[in-house]
């Protein structure tokens, strides 16, 4: 990638983010709420793809980190009288430490172990948190009362999205991004050319854990009332995976291409046919595997490439 096109993509990104930041000016309550959901999943799916895209390690831990973030804000404000912003600082650090420990334990081994470990992680933390709540802290309802509106949270998430895009842009150009792509292509080769495969994977996984916990913390005021069953809902992990893969993880802006249509589809299904939401998720996975293995973006790029070949 040449220097010029890099600058061009930065400018394009900045313009689009500015446009996104203007949404609260025009959107009413209903669309604001959808925009907030889209912003939330954009950050989650993009940071997910930073790690899972190049390495092909499917992380299902998003819900766990997201839940840790939301839950810490809830318990900090309700049980320990901490301020919202203090907890917003603490939560992602805890998420990152958790991700780091999980990474150390599982990422030295083959990818399957990692997937399996993250599969039940959110559920396990949920049962653990409920148990601690029932037996030690006592309080069951956690309230997050702030004067932040949905539009405020939305703006924070757009800023966070900008940070994630910048980080991703930097990672793609850096040695670690290069290392991860080699790991994804062939881990054996990566190890033989002297890449410390475990360290590279752990660093990026820690970053995605940090971001997911931060999103969970920032969005907590939206729900006002935090319950372990809600914030640790494993569905979030799966939705993030579907969105990112649907869009395509080959490009930094790929996931958002999947986030927007799938978020709208989910909104529609939940409003009209809520009992079919699980079935829809299943079908989405199957469609991705059998028809869009490189996502919508990959499919479009493929089509463009063949057309270019045929005209030349």
């Amino acid at each position: 990638m040449s220097h010029g096109s890099d600058i061009k993509s930065l400018v394009w990104g900045a313009v689009l983010l500015l446009l996104a930041a203007c949404v609260p000016l025009v959107a009413n309550g209903y669309w604001m709420s959808i925009a907030l959901t889209i912003a939330m999943f954009t950050v989650l799916a993009t940071s997910w793809a930073l790690f899972s895209g190049p390495t092909h390690y499917i992380s299902l831990a998003t819900a766990a980190f997201f839940g840790v973030g939301g839950y810490l804000v809830g318990t900090g404000m309700s049980d320990y009288n901490m301020g919202f912003w203090t907890m917003v600082v603490i939560a992602p650090v805890v998420g990152a430490v958790l991700a780091f420990l999980i990474g150390i334990a599982t990422l030295r081994l083959s990818g399957v172990y990692f997937v399996i470990f993250t599969l039940g992680l959110a559920e396990m933390i949920r049962t653990l948190v409920s148990w601690i709540q029932n037996n030690f802290t006592g309080s069951r309802g956690l309230y997050v009362l702030t004067d932040l509106t949905e539009a405020d949270i939305y703006i924070y998430l757009v800023i966070l999205a900008a940070v994630v895009y910048l980080a991703g842009w930097w990672v793609n150009r850096s040695r670690i991004g290069f290392a991860l792509r080699i790991i994804g292509n062939d881990e054996m080769v990566a190890r033989h050319v002297g890449i410390n495969t475990a360290t590279s994977k752990v660093i990026l996984f820690t970053f995605s854990g940090f971001i997911a916990a931060l999103v969970g913390a920032l969005i907590a005021p939206r729900y006002t009332y935090i319950e372990p069953n809600g914030v640790f809902s494993p569905e979030i992990s799966f939705i993030v995976v579907i969105m990112a893969l649907l869009g395509g993880t080959g490009r930094l802006w790929g996931p958002i291409v999947g986030v927007i249509p799938f978020a709208l589809l989910q909104e529609f299904i939940n409003a009209n046919y809520s009992s079919y939401s699980t079935l829809v998720m299943g079908v989405a996975f199957l469609v991705i595997v059998y028809f869009l293995p490189k996502g919508v973006v990959g499919r479009i790029e493929q089509a463009l490439a063949t057309r270019r070949k045929s005209t030349w």
Binding site: F117, L119, S130, Y290
Partner: protein
């Protein structure tokens, strides 16, 4: 004593489920995350047939096993075989099969929830039974005995018949067994179907003493995976020991601390295995 026997009884049924997944992952090389849903299907069938006609779950098992065998065979042929062909290496097959079986798992959960959204509650052989002076529920013991019977039959088949030997050969190396004239695609399909049938039978057995619901499958997939990794992929002896350990630990935690913490206990074991024996209980370190 009470805890030990209950734990071992539970572990026996776990071993049977892990046996099923071991065939699918060890031989057919498909990481089947929809495994738990086939277990729940077995439980759902037992519940329905018992409530409708009060037919014993043991008989139901004989009906669902061939159905599940056929269903899994079709799934392998139609959906998974194309993935095996498309994959350039084992890593890509793993990613593809994980995503595809996720899809199946969600689709199955969605279908089952729309058929029966509540708990599968029924009561079969909930009678006391005495072993060495302590009482246990008869349904647990019956389930354990059937798990041992089915597992034993499979073991005999794997170790003392020609197709069984071919299957073990495929699990050691797909390439080498292809070279010596084993029909690998056919055996993989057979292993996948057989594994699914075994899991469904396990689900029918479990439903006699644990109340399940449509969305609980993933927990059992998780447990079966932990057992397989702890025992070492493809290692039947290891899987049996691992299943008994998991059953014991879960029962101990449930009785002494809190029944809500069984999953956390399973995870604790998993972490220990990953940190200290990722090659499995009896596995050797790769050189």
């Amino acid at each position: 004593m009470d805890i030990i026997i209950t734990g071992l009884l539970l572990g026996g049924t776990y071993a049977l489920i892990a046996f099923g997944l071991n065939l699918q992952y060890g031989v057919a090389r498909i990481m089947n995350l929809a495994n738990g849903e086939f277990l729940v299907l077995g439980a759902l069938a037992a519940f329905w047939i018992f409530v409708a006609d009060s037919i014993s779950p043991v008989l139901t098992m004989l009906i669902v096993a061939p159905l599940s065998f056929f269903g899994n065979w079709v799934i392998y042929k139609l959906l998974l075989r194309p993935l095996v062909r498309r994959a350039k290496n084992q890593g890509q097959l793993e990613v593809d099969s994980i995503l595809a079986t996720f899809g199946m798992s969600f689709a199955l959960v969605g279908i089952m929830v729309s058929m029966h959204g509540e708990y599968f509650t029924y009561s079969y052989l909930a009678e006391p039974f005495e072993i060495v002076g302590e009482t246990f529920a008869l349904n647990r013991i019956v389930a354990f005995c059937f798990a041992v019977l089915i597992g034993g039959a499979l073991w005999l088949w794997l170790y003392y018949t020609r197709p069984g030997m071919a299957m073990r050969a495929v699990s050691v190396s797909t390439e080498a067994s292809g070279l010596v004239g084993i029909d690998v695609p056919r055996l993989s399909a057979l292993a996948f179907a057989l594994g699914g049938a075994v899991t469904t039978m396990g689900g029918t057995l479990i439903s006699t003493f644990i109340t399940l619901d449509a969305s609980v499958g993933v927990i059992f997939t998780m447990k079966a995976l932990i057992i397989i990794i702890m025992g070492g992929v493809g290692d039947i002896r290891g899987a049996i020991v691992a299943a008994l350990i998991l059953g014991l630990v879960e029962t101990t935690v449930a009785r002494l601390i809190d029944p809500g913490l069984t999953l956390a206990a399973a995870y604790a074991i998993f972490v220990l295995v990953l940190l200290f024996r990722p090659q499995g209980l009896f596995g050797r370190k790769p050189t």
